[in-house]
Symmetry: C2
Subunit: 188 residues, 2 copies
Amino acid sequence: MTERSGSLAALAEVFREHGFEGTSLTTISKATGLGKGSLYNFFPGGKDEMMAAVLDDIDRWFEEAVFTPLEAADEPGPAIMAMMQAVTAYFQSGGRVCLVGWLGLGSSREAFADRVNGYFARWIATLAHCLQTGRVPAPRARSLAQEAVSGIQGAIVLSRALDDTRLFVRIVEKLESELLAVVARGES
Amino acid sequence: MTERSGSLAALAEVFREHGFEGTSLTTISKATGLGKGSLYNFFPGGKDEMMAAVLDDIDRWFEEAVFTPLEAADEPGPAIMAMMQAVTAYFQSGGRVCLVGWLGLGSSREAFADRVNGYFARWIATLAHCLQTGRVPAPRARSLAQEAVSGIQGAIVLSRALDDTRLFVRIVEKLESELLAVVARGES
DNA sequence: GCTAAGTTGTACCGATCAGTACAAGTAAGG
DNA sequence: CCTTACTTGTACTGATCGGTACAACTTAGC
């Protein structure tokens, strides 16, 4: 079980680099250092189960580092700043792809639709909740949260395409300052 | 030649659905109705050349429907509105993926890096140019253009993930109104 | 109607795909 | 030491991969 979870990081990285369809078992084997035997021993369900395990791991990380802090925060400003910092580090300033967002683009989407949907829905919900603690009305908070999450995804796509991590940082800072302005103003 | 260009639409659609790595010649053959013989007759370079032809087609469309109007506009407001309308129709309110943005995520990126980079660079440049005609200073125009293009890409990712085309429309409208507000204000 | 050029289907290539089978290896418990 | 359970590498399967070869076919010019 420890070997399985130990390989999750490498597994995630290789999926992020090649996508689901583009990742072969040979690639996975090389990346994790595990032979096919071990791979199918730990993940009897094959590639699908490997991706599912990776998604579990991602969920766990975001739950702990992003979602829970957003929900638990009693003041929105610092929580928003912490979220943006965590996200920037996680996505390596746009150098690292959002696997969940990517999955949503492809035809493998159907297989993981619930996971993909849940990830973004929870992100938006917790961020909106955080904004509401700053006296932002619920509908507005929800819209702002959607725009922020959408904006982060766009920053990943664009900064990857232009190979410019500074662009990611700048856009995310802009998104942050917009949110901070709203909560600082007390209400909208 | 007419058969080749006639198959480009189907080719583009199947690439959009499965990505580059996820699209097999069998899939392409079915989607276009052409056998392998015809496929390699029209595209001797194989899958790479097919994707290149699709990207050419996309470039052509955007050049005509988006970039040139942005550059030729003497008034930014209507040009921005026209761009957003064209883009919303093209991406089918987020139901359709941006193939170029997708390519930038994957490892097949390297093969098409210049195309991907050029596409977004030109989009940003023409939009920034358009904003400058509305007396927006060059650096600000560039930043706003980057944010708008990034925002559109994010809207595609998020609306696909949540399977909600209204979300795409709403976010794009928001982006539009922000740009319009800037140019209406005369200056920043 | 003959030729030449372009088009198409089909059979095939070696490589690689995801996945299976299983024997050999390892380690822990008693 | 022996068993039992887990782990691992290797060899293999049939299917499919991208790509090639080529013969059959259509079409157009003359």
